[in-house]
């Protein structure tokens, strides 16, 4: 039998943990509910499908949605080949494990740097030194540097989980190094690459500081080709601008609700992708 003291101790600890769990859950629920309740009523087709006009006094976030899409695509287009390529080199080819260790350490440090520093460097290097001015391209390139470590590290980790026996089997059949990587190693780590991608997209969506400096906050519509050399605000940046500079809190909350929904969607798809590949591997 448990002593009385012991019993009350267990009860106390249990309630402490229950309360912390309840608090955490309540916080999340409150935040999500608050944003959705304040935001969703202000989401209208007009808001989503027009650009803002000072003449009519109307606000539309279509340019911001498009800028977000463009910047996500442009960033992934650059960062994927670079990150995956670097990961393949470091895990499959590089002989000097010491230097690989240093690079991995540097990449990890890089991913922990406050994003405003990326913004500052991006502004000085891409916008001014390379003469891209404040543009989506400069913003995307800054995000490339920011997300490179993430893509590289997730790919590397997933390359390391491909069993050595697969490589041995392929080499044993007389396959060359690149063929082994292309046909046996890479297919085994697709899930890692996709996870990295989804994480990166989440990060790009959430980024504001680095983009304020480099991509600016214009709300104009451009064609697909000219958009990259012109400035543009992503949704997150637009949220900041509407809330802080224009005092348009209704719009800001509408954008917040959209961003929140997108984040949920991205996390959900990351989980689904993970599950899909885990299932495929078991077969």
């Amino acid at each position: 039998m448990l002593s009385k003291k012991r019993k009350s101790y267990i009860l106390a600890m249990k309630s402490v943990m229950l309360i912390s769990t309840a608090l955490t859950a309540a916080l999340v629920v409150f935040l999500v509910a608050f944003v959705f309740i304040k935001g969703i009523p202000h989401i209208s087709w007009e808001l989503l499908s027009t650009k803002p006009s000072y003449i009519d006094g109307k606000i539309g976030i279509l340019p911001d949605i498009l800028s977000t899409v463009y910047i996500v695509i442009a960033t992934l287009l650059f960062v994927l080949p670079l990150g995956v390529g670097a990961a393949i080199y470091l895990t499959e080819y590089a002989k000097n494990k010491k230097i690989v260790g240093i690079i991995e350490y540097a990449a990890e440090t890089l991913s922990g740097i406050p994003s405003i520093i990326y913004g500052l460097v991006g502004m000085l290097f891409f916008c001014q030194f390379l003469g891209f001015k404040t543009s989506l391209l400069a913003g995307a390139l800054t995000l490339v540097i920011m997300n490179l470590p993430t893509i590289m590290r997730t790919t590397q980790e997933s390359l390391k989980t491909v069993p050595q026996s697969y490589r041995d089997g392929a080499f044993g059949l007389g396959a060359g190094k690149w063929r082994v990587i292309r046909t046996v190693v890479l297919p085994g780590c697709v899930d890692g690459v996709i996870t990295g991608c989804i994480l990166s997209v989440g990060r790009i969506l959430g980024e504001s500081a680095a983009l304020l400096f480099t991509a600016g906050f214009a709300h104009s519509l451009y064609g697909i080709l000219s958009c990259l050399v012109n400035p543009g605000a992503t949704l997150t940046v637009a949220l900041y601008v509407y809330a802080k500079e224009n005092g348009e809190f209704e719009v800001a909350f509408a954008i917040a609700a959209i961003l929140m929904a997108l984040t949920l969607l991205i996390n959900l798809s990351a989980t689904l992708v993970g599950k899909y590949f885990a299932k495929k591997r078991e077969l």
Partner: protein, 251 residues
């Protein structure tokens, strides 16, 4: 019967550790040669030197010669991929690729440039028949190979190795991860295969060596202690250490 593989004064180091000491051996064609010896004696290491799989391990140094059909495989002009096509390998743990049974078998031929569907179909069927597994899998060639049992996977790996039409098949303890019935089937298969291939098999199991091999090599501490006809080596070993090992006094 000629000797298809020969090693001359072969030494091998992992970093500073000498793992093989002055190995000299002639492996006869169309026969089964078994390598036996206690763990860490160098038998698997030596097997890997025969098709240069040890190239994949960093910091390995080799001196001496290994000749395949009279040509030194460590020479400068050797195409390692071509060498491994001629000298195939089956590993300790079955390691089918995570793809369909068909694609597993077709992997080797595709690697070496065969694209024709008709040709590939033919090779896949023939290889699976040669590995005595065709009847079990012919209805599910498109199914993932990882869904097969361990014994089937190992026979699939043998079929996969046969698909590139090698001369020699190196087997590194191919039955150590399998149950007795699967083991028996692999052994029968090896005996069947020696008609057309030369087989070198590393085994922990001395009964297995006796059951299937024509020649046996006994390794100890990186040295090749004794090599000879299997029945002779097991009935009248020349070296005292061989006798101690096969009678179970150590190992």
């Amino acid at each position: 019967m000629g000797d298809i593989l020969t090693a001359k004064n072969l030494n091998l180091w992992y970093d500073k550790t000498k793992a093989l000491k002055d190995i000299n051996i002639n492996i006869p064609e169309n026969s089964i040669t078994a390598f036996i010896g206690p763990s860490g004696c160098g038998k698997s290491t030596f097997l890997k030197t025969l098709n240069r799989m040890n190239d994949l391990i960093p910091n390995v140094k080799i001196t001496g010669e290994v000749c395949y059909k009279g040509q030194d495989i460590y020479g400068n002009s050797v195409d390692v991929n071509e060498l491994r096509r001629n000298i195939g390998m089956v590993f300790q743990k079955p390691n089918p690729f995570p793809m369909s049974i068909y694609d597993n078998i077709a992997y080797g031929p595709r690697t070496h440039g065969i694209k024709s569907k008709v040709k590939l179909d033919e090779i896949v069927e023939q290889s699976l028949r040669d590995a005595a597994i065709w009847d079990e899998v012919k209805d599910r060639l498109k199914k993932n190979a990882l869904g097969m049992s361990g014994g089937q996977q190992q026979r699939l790996c043998i079929a996969r190795a046969l698909a590139v039409k090698p001369d020699i098949l190196l087997m590194d303890e191919p039955t150590s991860a399998l149950d007795p019935i699967s083991t028996l089937r692999i052994e029968e298969l090896a005996i069947e295969l020696k008609k057309s291939y030369t087989i070198v098999i590393v085994t922990h199991n001395m009964q297995q060596a006796v059951r299937i091999s024509d020649y046996t090599a006994f390794f100890l501490l990186g040295e090749l202690v004794e090599f000879g006809k299997t029945d002779q080596l097991f009935s009248q070993p020349v070296d005292k250490r061989t006798e101690d090992y096969i009678t179970g006094r150590f190992g």
